[in-house]
């Protein structure tokens, strides 16, 4: 069975020959969620962009559904992938319905179909169409904007979703709500998701696999439980940073107990 997305020795370099991605090989099984974890500037976003060809690889291959992306029309390729970014990136001059259906609009689908699909999707991301359909992005909260952004990504029913820190800018409670929505939606829709995040908690909650990238190199590619138990220094450092608060509070509790 061919993977939905496969990277083979992917390299991306800047014009002055600095390597942003260095020999990354990775296969994403259909219907799974893979989290790409790493610091800011580690190359996570570049990897995502190589998949939809908004960045051209300087070496190696990117295969989508078994086809080399260099042989595919980039416009068609991108329309076959939903895209969600941190600040939602909604079009400020479009209403919510038009934002959601923009890909269908670009594909020349009739207005009626677009409105219907848009309304249906708004409901499925938890926004009441009768309230939100005619609003503009600036009239929405951060969480609502992100929901619209997810609805937009699903509009053309793509098999693949690319998400770049989708919930990074939200407060923890809203983020948790969004992650729940994401899980429910994905369980139902069976999309292949490539999720870029620096948040280990998010990766553990949403992903079937966690890939750690550092300075453009692939450090680890593990299932969530294996990731948490890994003895690799870079992985351990990430897990330790994540558990810092937890270990401090448990120490505090222990010392309080010791004091009686």
């Amino acid at each position: 069975m061919s993977a939905a997305i496969e990277l083979k020795g992917l390299c991306v370099a800047t014009r002055d020959h600095r390597l942003l991605l260095d020999d990354i090989s990775l296969a994403l099984e259909r219907g799974t969620t893979t989290a790409i974890l790493g610091r800011s500037g580690s190359g996570k976003t570049t990897l995502l962009r190589a998949v939809n060809r908004t960045v051209e690889p300087t070496g190696g291959e990117v295969l989508v559904n078994g086809a080399d992306v260099r042989n595919l029309d980039p416009i068609g390729l991108r329309r076959g992938m939903g895209y969600v970014i941190q600040e939602a990136g909604l079009f400020p001059h479009f209403t919510v319905v038009r934002n959601v259906a923009i890909v269908l609009e670009a594909m020349g689908r009739p207005l009626q179909e677009r409105e219907m699909r848009s309304t249906e999707l708004l409901a499925s991301v938890g926004l009441d169409p009768t309230i939100f359909a005619r609003r503009y992005p600036h009239q929405l909260s951060g969480g609502q904007r992100q929901r619209v952004s997810v609805a937009r990504a699903l509009a053309a029913d793509p098999g693949i979703l690319l998400m770049d820190e989708p919930f990074g800018a939200l407060d923890p409670l809203t983020r948790a709500e969004m992650q729940d929505m994401q899980r429910t939606l994905l369980a139902r829709l069976g999309k292949t998701v490539l999720l870029v995040t620096h948040d280990l908690d998010e990766a553990l909650y949403l992903a079937d696999r966690i890939v750690l990238i550092s300075e453009g190199k692939l450090i680890a590619d593990l299932a969530p439980d294996a990731f948490m138990r890994s003895a690799q220094p870079d992985v351990e450092a990430y897990v330790r940073a994540y558990r810092r608060g937890e270990s401090r509070t448990s120490k505090l509790a222990a010392s309080r107990e010791a004091q009686g």
Partner: protein, 215 residues
């Protein structure tokens, strides 16, 4: 006053129309050149600086000298109106070009990134996203250019292209301040009117987000 108007009313009206025609024609050409050029510059950053510099220099040429420079040119120099329109185009280019360029460049980068990533073609991105979002800027440029052109067009009379400048020049020559005013007041009124009308349009084109929040 009434006697003055009876004597000059008709020529004020004709010259106003002439003035409008010169300005209108120049603005039409300038827009057709500067808007596409501004868009092009956003696509190739390397060209932006030198092109902007050249257009900037055009703007600094004193208007009387500009008419003088154009006079000996073939074809253009043959007709006074051609000289006038060419000169006005030269002055109108910069504000339109600069605002088109800046208007598109100012658009939030994430919006542009998303429009590429979701598979809009370059043309769709331009028509559906960039131009509507840059429209208030572009219009502000058109507005500045129009007001400048209406002012500069008064000097077109120096090369015999007509327009309200003719009354001003005649008034200056015959030391008749009424004639100077008969040219200057309608010219000022035209400028104010154009400014007001384009300002109104500019506000209407502002994307909803720019009008402040309010649910």
């Amino acid at each position: 006053m009434t006697a003055f108007l009876r004597q000059y009313g008709a020529s004020i009206a004709t010259l106003t129309m002439e003035h409008l025609w010169l300005t209108g024609a120049a603005m039409l050409f300038a827009t057709c050149i500067a808007v596409p050029a501004g868009i092009l510059l956003t696509r190739s950053q390397r060209l932006a600086k030198p092109v902007m510099a050249v257009v900037n220099v055009l703007q600094t040429i004193p208007s009387l000298a500009m008419f003088g420079f154009l006079l000996p040119l073939p074809w253009i120099g043959d007709r006074a109106a051609r000289i006038a329109i060419m000169a006005l185009i030269a002055y109108a280019l910069l504000p339109i070009l600069r605002n088109t360029y800046a208007g598109i460049r100012e658009i939030d980068r994430s919006v542009i990134e998303v429009s590429r990533a979701i598979g809009l073609t370059d043309m769709q991105r331009l028509i559906k996203i960039e131009l509507p979002l840059a429209a208030p800027f572009i219009l502000a440029g058109l507005r500045t250019a129009t007001v400048t052109c209406i002012g500069v067009a008064t000097i077109a009379a120096a090369v015999g292209a007509g327009g309200l400048g003719e009354l001003i020049f005649r008034g200056v020559a015959s030391v008749d301040s009424r004639l100077v005013l008969a040219g200057a007041v309608p010219a000022a009124a035209l400028a104010l009117l154009a400014d007001g009308a384009l300002g109104l349009l500019e506000r209407r084109l502002k994307p909803p987000a720019a009008e402040g929040t309010g649910l």
